[in-house]
Symmetry: C2
Subunit: 254 residues, 2 copies
Amino acid sequence: MTMPSMTAFALSGVPLVQPGDDLITILKSALEQSQEQLADGDILVVSSKIISKSENRFVDLRTVEPSPAAIELAQKTNKEPELVEVILQESKSVSRAAPGVLVVEHRLGFVSANAGIDHSNIEDSDHRVLLLPLDPDASAAKLRQRIMDELGVTVGIIVSDTHGRPFRRGNVGVAIGIAGLPAIVDLRGGVDLFGRVLVASIQGYADLIASTAHLLCGEANEGRPLVVIRGLDVPSGEGLGADMNRDPASDLYR
Amino acid sequence: MTMPSMTAFALSGVPLVQPGDDLITILKSALEQSQEQLADGDILVVSSKIISKSENRFVDLRTVEPSPAAIELAQKTNKEPELVEVILQESKSVSRAAPGVLVVEHRLGFVSANAGIDHSNIEDSDHRVLLLPLDPDASAAKLRQRIMDELGVTVGIIVSDTHGRPFRRGNVGVAIGIAGLPAIVDLRGGVDLFGRVLVASIQGYADLIASTAHLLCGEANEGRPLVVIRGLDVPSGEGLGADMNRDPASDLYR
Ligand SMILES: Nc1nc2c(ncn2[C@@H]2O[C@H](COP(=O)(O)OP(=O)(O)O)[C@@H](O)[C@H]2O)c(=O)[nH]1
Ligand SMILES: Nc1nc2c(ncn2[C@@H]2O[C@H](COP(=O)(O)OP(=O)(O)O)[C@@H](O)[C@H]2O)c(=O)[nH]1
Ligand SMILES: [Mn+2]
Ligand SMILES: [Mn+2]
Ligand SMILES: [Mn+2]
Ligand SMILES: [Mn+2]
């Protein structure tokens, strides 16, 4: 019998990313310093934070004019009105607001605390925040294409972020941008060990990979925004971040 | 710089588990057939299903007498009244009920569809279902102790199950029983790359590992209920499955 297996490693040698930095240049240099190469079939998990930094998605809160709605919500959540204003601008709707908590539906369709905006791992975080990448799928696709062109290998890319979740304590990794692999893998119609047809088996495939990477990249001062996952028998398909969002109409927890 | 990495592999040679089977015997034989050994620091992820089977947690639905409450809920959810009765017996409360959906708070404290009870990968699934293990933490601790005694190695154990989730499509792996490693890892009070103190960083560590294993064990006829995770720098601590449950009172989505 064959034994399915995988390996995962975080690249070292990634600098503090600056606005305008070219991520393929950073990737190449990190691969070199790590004495590693990418191979066909690898999945590269990229922390959204360094994409945001390279895209200069910083907002200086001192330049933000909070709306009356933001001021009201800021009171309810004990958050800065300027931060709440930026969160609302990045969101379609508010899901839950309570002291210390502001969960929204992000403009990209997923539900997350503070629209994925945070102060951590950025410079001047006393008055600046960093928004999520403008279009994480596009960033993933672009990086994938440049890896093909410049390194000659075909990889999958996941742009990851850290999410909390209802019911369960602790953050996990999620995929907010995807290129070159499926987002979800629908096993329905397949059979179980006894030939019974599966009716509920849809795997959150890209999120599983993002959570795997999360074990290595962490969410503090590890300095490891690039993780390579190798050896997975990746099902075919081309997913997008939005494929992971439940249809709000059929979501019983909005 | 050191490059953090891990490997994960699914053991082959696991039989169809039967009531009364001794899991350490099954593990030893699978290790032998896989030509693998466990090592200190490994984490062994065990699918809850084979623990349930060994514990004979089968219920023959033909022997179940549905209560009036179960009959009513069965109508609302389009589920068999006998199945709903068993789900209610395994639960503390109903979280959401809709056509095709019954989400409950399990007696073990987590929130899951159908109390984790399903028909898949079991024999005679036309009239039988399988409940989750009676006490997944105790099963994990027992297996861990026997691995120490009989194989001479100190490993962590996670008993995993497959959960759906609000907001996001696709199932992920979760830890419902834990021995020899932390459930969550609280990074609060640590600092980010720029020395800012982290205020929201609690990692769902055991769930991250369960999701990693899920990429290899799957949830269909793969026949891979035993996955080894190797090489992680596991933080110290001894968690329990219940550590992963959010306090219902502070959960905005119950
Ligand atoms: N080398 C490097 N690592 C970074 C940078 N920004 C964040 N990281 C690391 O990337 C990982 C994820 O960081 P986090 O702030 O949680 O990013 P997010 O999950 O994408 O929002 C952690 O290991 C951070 O230390 C950077 O500019 N350079
Ligand atoms: N070898 C073997 N594999 C099993 C058995 N029962 C389930 N599996 C496998 O264990 C993995 C997880 O199965 P699943 O039914 O999703 O278990 P759960 O997530 O613990 O409820 C899949 O690879 C199944 O094929 C068994 O009795 N023997
Ligand atoms: Mn983030
Ligand atoms: Mn993060
Ligand atoms: Mn299950
Ligand atoms: Mn499963």
